[in-house]
């Protein structure tokens, strides 16, 4: 019982650390924006380099969604609603969530291991010694790069997913192309798209924050870097799924 209590306290302390770290990153962001070249490079690392996995995953997810959705809707004679079903499912849920999970796995681990390695080889200390604030120079650009890249990746995922759904639904399963799109247009609203964008933005902040936090505070050994990387993926996954519930519930009102 006492162990439970202590681990609870530990978690709260850890949460406090992370929040204070986030505040520090946000405080340094305006000045870091002056060095936009650093941020651009990080957008490339986190975003452009993740494009392939995101697009492939989006395609397959959209295709599976169409397969499953078609089977389900067929029972009610509403196959025409496939366009709506696929779009809503992708834009509101699968797009943000799956992209976030993939992002944590690919870009998040890269960020954590980069920073962890810099910590282990004293590069961060060297920068401090050269009177350069490593937070501003190294951490914030990586954080902002992830924050900017995530919503864009989620949007691309959803779009490719819709294309994949259309591929299976219309070309293979025989849903009428006109109905596919017109029903979708009639039923999908801007609020749905908004919800998806808000989700992916929040996930972007979460994943990037966790990744840079774990990397920056990694134990400066080879082991420590590995631990930081795994913790990034695990923590990100759990928190994203939890936040997903909260945000969906909040939007439901």
């Amino acid at each position: 019982m006492e162990e439970l209590w202590t681990s609870l306290i530990e978690s709260l302390v850890g949460l406090g650390d992370v929040v204070r770290f986030l505040l520090r990153l946000v405080a340094e962001s305006p000045r870091a924006l002056l060095r936009f070249d650093l941020i651009a490079k990080q957008i490339y690392n986190s975003g452009a380099l993740s494009l392939v996995i995101i697009m492939l995953s989006g395609l397959f997810v959209g295709m599976v969604l169409a397969l499953q959705g078609f089977q389900l809707l067929q029972r009610f004679g509403s196959e025409d609603a496939l366009g709506t079903a696929a779009t809503i499912g992708l834009v509101k849920e699968l797009g943000p969530v799956v992209t976030a999970l993939l992002f944590a796995g690919r870009a998040g681990t890269a960020l954590a291991s980069e920073l962890g390695l810099m910590r282990a080889t004293d590069q961060l200390s060297a920068m401090e010694m050269m009177a350069v604030d490593p937070i501003r120079r190294v951490v914030v650009p990586r954080f902002l790069g992830g924050v900017i890249a995530m919503p864009l990746l989620a949007a691309i995922f959803s779009v490719i997913g819709i294309y994949g759904a259309q591929l299976v639904g219309v070309q293979i399963m025989g849903v009428d192309a006109g109905s596919f799109w017109s029903q979708m247009r009639a039923s999908v609203g801007l609020s749905d798209i908004n919800e998806g964008i808000v989700k992916s933005c929040i996930f972007g902040v979460t994943c990037s924050l966790i990744a840079v936090y774990e990397g920056y505070y990694a134990t400066p050994t080879a082991e420590g870097v590995g631990t930081a990387t795994t913790r990034t993926v695990v923590t990100s996954a759990v928190i994203i799924l939890f936040l997903d519930y909260l945000i969906t519930a909040a939007f439901l009102k």
Binding site: T121, D122, S125, E128, M129, A131
Partner: protein
């Protein structure tokens, strides 16, 4: 108490305090519940090469971090180039650090920048110098360490010794007043060792700076150091020129300088009685 500045010891030669660029008084610092330094007093003389030596774990690297302000002391004072580190603000600390250069144990070059860019890093971050001037400065410093031809290589393509030389060039690019070397000889082959030693001496004399070298390579450091501080148990146990230390009337100094396996620093990690432990495992029929 041996060799502390100010005590009347026939061997210690007290220097004029104003000639010290780093003054540490009564420093106390601990980590993880263990005390690392208790009542430490050190004066680093200006313009000389000072070596800080001691057995593993005496906190030599911690001392460097205290001097550079990366960690704060629990009590006692540290005055670096006239600035009291207890009362210095973060912005002033950064300004002070620009007057110091530090060479880390493994070079600590930024792995995503080329050799040239690494050396240019402090200039780009802290000055508005035109590109032409940066280029000249960088090449000059690289020339001083003998690596001007490697300017376009990446740190991953360099050997350990070359890495350290580039890091040295980076440390001097802003013309610091104090150069700090953290274990610069670890893992180097004899040739690279000789190169580094020569650079330490020449840079110190040519640039008129103060060098602080933390090391435990007795042979190597004895050839270049002007003053040696030997730390053990959180205090200074010996202070003087390398020659003075070699004939110091103290067991621990002699064990360290002579590289003896056993002495005040024991060979055996504390353990229960040997025979007792051997016999205790067996079942007595």
């Amino acid at each position: 108490m041996l060799g502390v500045t100010g005590t009347r010891s026939p061997i210690a030669t007290p220097l004029n305090p104003s000639a010290s660029i780093v003054e540490i008084r009564n420093l106390n610092y601990g980590a993880g519940g263990r005390p690392i330094f208790s009542g430490l007093d050190i004066d680093i003389p200006r313009g000389r090469i000072t070596a800080v030596m001691g057995p593993s774990g005496t906190g030599k690297t911690t001392l460097l971090r205290l001097i550079t302000g990366q960690v704060a002391a629990e009590s006692g004072s540290i005055v670096v180039a006239g600035e009291d580190l207890r009362s210095v603000r973060r912005a002033d600390l950064y300004v002070l650090r620009r007057r110091m250069g530090m060479l880390f144990q493994n070079g600590a070059l930024l792995t995503d920048l080329s050799v040239f860019e690494n050396v240019a890093f402090p200039l780009r971050e802290h000055t508005d110098l035109p590109e032409r001037l940066i280029r000249q400065l960088v090449l000059t410093k690289l020339q001083a360490v003998g690596l001007r031809g490697a300017a376009e290589l990446m740190p991953g393509e360099l050997s350990g010794g070359m890495n350290r030389r580039v890091a040295l060039a980076r440390a001097i690019v802003m013309d610091p007043e104090i150069l700090i070397y953290d274990e610069p000889f670890v893992g180097l082959d004899p040739i690279s060792l000789g190169v580094i030693l020569r650079l330490i001496r020449r840079l110190n004399d040519a640039l008129g700076i103060t060098s602080i070298v933390v090391s435990h390579d007795v042979q190597e450091i004895s050839t270049v150091a002007d003053v040696v501080f030997l730390l053990s148990g959180g205090k200074v146990v010996a202070r003087g020129t390398p020659q003075q230390l070699h004939s110091y009337p103290s067991e621990i100094v002699r064990q360290f300088m002579g590289g003896l396996a056993d002495g005040p620093v024991p060979f055996h990690y504390p353990a229960p009685d040997y025979f007792g432990e051997l016999l205790a495992r067996g079942e007595i029929p």
